[in-house]
């Protein structure tokens, strides 16, 4: 197998929902080819109606070693949750 081609992350939007969900990654020479490869690899069983691809190298992630200082401080701030508000009926997709 030849892995000279860059790696791409694939996001698929299903018929239900508005969000594109990360489904996996693949190799492709360019964006066009990445979308086609994604179509062939990840939508064979009617999984999607829209595809996003982004080169893996463009994604920057947080450092797992810093998880404690990054996320733990939010644990005891219950007042930040909007659960005490009544949502108006007109508000969709919440």
């Amino acid at each position: 197998m030849n892995n000279d081609e860059p790696l791409w992350e694939v996001f698929i939007r299903s018929k239900q929902g508005l969000d594109h969900k990360h489904v996996g990654s693949l190799h492709a020479a360019d964006a066009q080819m990445a979308i086609e490869n994604a179509r062939d690899v990840y939508t064979r069983r009617m999984e999607g109606i829209s595809i996003w691809v982004v080169e893996s190298k463009s994604i920057h992630s947080s450092n797992p070693d810093e998880a404690a200082s990054m996320y733990d401080p939010a644990n005891d701030k219950i007042y930040r949750h909007p659960t005490f508000y009544d949502l108006p009926d007109e508000l969709k997709h919440m």
Binding site: M1, L26, H27, N37, D40, V41, R44
Partner: protein, 258 residues
């Protein structure tokens, strides 16, 4: 008329089956995982198309022939000999390297694309319906094949050399597409099937456009000697090998299912 319609339908079925079977040989051997899956998907699309045509052909054969053993999609695919197959020669020639495979697929999909576009208006409802369903698949095959031809032609020195070689080898197999067989001539009379000579211009324009984008010259003149015979059952030796592999099980164990 009925025999001509059966032959027209079998011709379309055989085209898709043999091309699909050839492409399926890449399964597990593609140059990359992603392309392995892509070409296997295309092979499956084509085999699906052939099933629709074979089922229709079997109905037509059985309707006019009550005494003999019943024809089914399986008997038509697995129990006919090479001389009864009516596929274009371009569908049976070996895959060769990736360049030859994608160029072959481009030429063939381009042909199917314009053919099905016209077949949609067939006076035969069944053929029109199969064409409509298949056209969506073929539109993607054509796009995929065109892009690979462009990518290889406009790629490295090696990829360019390979696609040029493929062009020389495959070009003589393209003429047959536009030479109507007797059954095709008969079927175009009542707009049952397509007048293949009418789609030649569209086919050539698309080929010219893609080859130019692939930095390949389109200088294929009409004088090149073209191979033909497939539509009338006169095949290259290659079809025998395909059928030997494809039909072995049904011939060795008749009616076997798994």
């Amino acid at each position: 008329m009925s025999d001509h319609l059966i032959n027209c339908t079998l011709h379309l079925a055989d085209n898709s089956l043999i091309m699909g079977h050839r492409l399926s040989e890449w399964t597990g051997h593609g140059p990359m995982l992603e392309q392995d899956i892509a070409i296997s998907n295309i092979a499956l699309d084509l085999i699906g198309q052939s099933r629709n045509f074979y089922q229709y052909a079997a109905n037509l054969i059985n309707a006019g022939n009550e005494s003999k053993t019943e024809a089914t999609e399986d008997t038509l695919a697995y129990l006919r000999d090479a001389r009864e197959f009516k596929n274009l020669l371009i569908t049976e020639i070996p895959n060769g390297d990736w360049a030859k495979t994608v160029l072959k697929l481009f030429f063939f999909s381009n042909y199917q694309f314009y053919f099905y576009q016209k077949l949609i208006s067939s006076s035969d409802e069944q053929l029109a319906a199969i064409a409509e369903k298949s056209l969506k698949e073929v539109t993607y095959h054509l796009r995929w094949g065109s892009e690979w031809v462009i990518r290889l032609g406009d790629g490295t020195e090696e990829s360019n050399g390979r696609i040029k070689l493929a062009l020389e080898e495959i070009w003589p197999f393209t003429g047959e597409m536009f030479e109507p067989a007797e059954y095709e001539k008969a079927c175009k009379e009542n707009h049952v099937s397509v007048d293949v000579s009418e789609i030649k211009n569209d086919w050539q324009n698309k080929v010219r456009e893609v080859l130019e984008r692939a930095t390949l010259s389109y200088s294929q003149d009409e004088e090149v000697w073209m191979q033909s015979g497939g539509k009338n059952g006169i095949h290259t030796e290659q079809l025998g090998f395909i059928l030997a592999e494809m039909q072995f099980l049904q011939r060795a164990y008749p009616g076997c299912e798994w």
